[in-house]
């Protein structure tokens, strides 16, 4: 590892809506900004751009407008004050010195900043069921990414299952790309759905969008099954069908209500959870977001975390959506620039107001589409909960019956959360299962402790011994040491 870290004025982690907005705002104020992003191209997931098209036309309608919006935001990154570093994973953060450890094209490096803005985004939530590890069961967002980034339709006949507005939006995008949709399965009953729509009455544009989406699906004769859940994915080595069931008010599947559908692809989404590994490693205080039932990073109104010099914007501080992320990015970029003595040409008061309004909409949506505890009944004892280590729900329940009440205690008992994904997929699910088995409120069940490296990196990067490098070279396109191609 290098002796002396590189330096920058403002380091921004994540080039999604929040990070890009923060970078552009701070750079326009005069600050030198370094933006670090794990992926090959900026935009995050929401504003993922087509991988190959320069002004590629012909994308299906609703995707094209999303891509266009993203392109406009991303154009700001060409500001000379912004150094965008892609394919760069921030795998550790040290709060005392404001140093980030990086793994990227130049190998292992460290970067010291005067101010850090964490814009790490969010991850999709799912609930397991028998067959959920089969190839062809994917996250709804993953199907959108295939469409957006690659113009590839990841199946022919789809089932969408879970809860919340993303399912409808995804269904429309898949339809426009030529997919058949066997059903859209929404956990909420029709009555709950309408009742919660009423709670959105103050935000008429959101409500209007929601109804327009529903109408599009009904016009396309997509069967929308309210008060249902996916219960099983069928198939040997890949998906060939699915069983859906009706659920009661708690989300518990009702025996005898099974319907079998012939599908080749199943897209899941149960909302999102904030990515908080880096702020937690830094020691930033967390709070429990009641609306989304997830932990998130605490900040004051200026988006400063409990650690001096570290700000957070967007989903990292609680689910809010892309609109909130852009507003908070602008605010954080402006606050950071001000801290360094620049005068950002931006009206912070106006941003405060816009932020409050956008956050209020997000909070209403969060309350509408929370997970339901009865879904744990689908996670029968034979279902692997931790996909990496193949830890079954039965093993987890045995540990709980023996006294385990926190996720960290599950690790030595079962190895759940100890695989490559480091609990990113199963952490939230395990909290649901512990809550359902013990009766403890979700708030009392802490997430897995976050530790560096945030994601797996080659041993050489964390300072381990470098294997025989005689034949190994750093491969930019893969992000690791490998054998040079001939």
């Amino acid at each position: 590892m290098p002796q002396k870290p590189d330096t920058t004025e403002i380091a921004i982690v994540g080039a999604g809506p929040a990070g890009v907005a923060a970078a552009v705002t701070a750079a326009r104020a005069g600050a030198s900004v370094t933006v670090l992003d794990e992926y090959a191209r900026p935009g995050g997931q929401y504003y993922k751009q087509p991988a190959h098209a320069d002004g590629g036309p012909t994308y299906p309608n609703s995707l094209a407008s999303n891509i266009e919006q993203g392109r406009e935001l991303l154009e700001g990154l060409s500001h000379p004050g912004i150094d965008l570093q892609c394919n760069t994973l921030v795998w550790n953060i040290s709060a005392d010195e404001l140093v980030l450890d990086l793994c990227g094209p130049a190998g292992a490096r460290a970067l010291q900043a005067q101010c850090i803005i964490l814009c790490a985004g969010a991850t999709e939530r799912v609930m397991p069921f028998p067959g959920w590890t089969l190839p062809g069961v994917i996250m709804a967002g993953a199907s959108q990414l295939m469409l957006k980034a690659h113009g590839i339709l990841p199946g022919k006949r789809f089932l969408l299952a879970g809860t919340g507005p993303l399912l409808q939006i995804t269904a429309i995008q898949l339809l426009e790309a030529g997919a058949q949709i066997a059903a859209l399965v929404e956990l909420r009953s029709r009555t709950e759905f309408l009742r919660s729509a009423a709670s959105l009455w103050r935000y008429r544009d959101k409500l209007g969008q929601g109804f327009a989406n529903l109408q599009k699906l009904l016009q396309a004769r997509v069967p929308i099954k309210f008060g249902h859940t996916i219960a099983r994915a069928l198939g040997e080595n890949e998906v060939s069908g699915a069983v859906i069931m009706r659920v009661d008010g708690d989300g518990r599947p009702i025996p005898g209500s099974e319907t079998t559908l012939k599908v080749d692809t199943i897209c899941l989404n149960y909302g999102f959870a904030p990515a908080t590994e880096l702020p937690r490693i830094a020691g930033c205080e967390q709070y429990f977001d009641q609306d989304y039932a997830t932990y998130a990073t605490s900040t004051n109104d200026n988006l400063e975390t409990s650690i001096t010099g570290i700000l957070a914007a967007g989903e990292t501080r609680g689910m809010g959506g892309a609109e909130v992320a852009v507003i908070e990015g602008q605010l954080a970029g402006s606050v950071a620039a001000q801290q360094l003595g620049f005068s950002p040409p931006i009206d912070q008061n106006e941003l405060f107001d816009k932020r409050l309004q956008a956050r209020a909409v997000a909070a209403t949506l969060g309350k509408m589409f929370q997970l339901k505890p009865g879904l744990c009944a689908l996670v029968t004892d034979d279902v692997p909960v931790c996909r990496c280590e193949e830890v079954s729900a039965g093993e987890v329940r045995t540990a709980i019956r023996n006294g385990v009440v926190q996720l960290n205690q599950l690790k030595p008992w079962t190895r759940a959360g100890m695989g490559s994904c480091q609990g990113r997929i199963c952490g939230d699910i395990l909290r649901q299962i512990v809550a359902s088995e013990t009766g403890l409120p979700l708030q009392d069940i802490q997430p897995f402790t976050a530790r560096a490296p945030v994601k797996p990196v080659p041993l050489e990067v964390v300072g381990g011994p470098v294997a025989d490098t005689g034949t190994l070279t750093w491969e930019d396109h893969v992000g690791g040491y490998g054998v040079a191609r001939t």
């Binding site: 113009g151 590839i152 339709l153 030529g178 280590e389 893969v478």
Partner: protein, 93 residues
């Protein structure tokens, strides 16, 4: 199940990659996972413990279900790694 490249969308330069010894056609900028799905290969890895088939799942590099050996480097996330001309992908281990 073969994923479909949507016909109306313009593609970048064709690129050939080698997957388990077989040539597969892809386009510059595509992820390795996208190229595999479009070629009809859905199983990308197998679980270390049970050897069960696993594939593209989260699409954003967090679940590590689509890892393969690429140019001799193990555990490469194919969903966020772009194809390079002639790159050698091994999904058998």
């Amino acid at each position: 199940m073969k994923a479909q490249r949507i016909s109306k969308i313009e593609r970048a330069t064709p690129v050939t990659i080698i997957v388990n010894g077989q040539e597969i056609q892809a386009h510059a900028g595509e992820s390795i996972a996208a190229a595999l799905l479009a070629a009809g290969q859905r199983q990308i890895s197998q679980n270390n413990k049970s050897s069960a088939a696993r594939g593209y799942f989260c699409g954003m590099g967090m679940c590590f279900e689509c890892v393969a050996t690429v140019d001799g480097i193990p555990n490469v996330r194919t969903c966020i790694t772009e194809v390079a001309p002639g790159c050698i992908v091994d999904t058998s281990s």
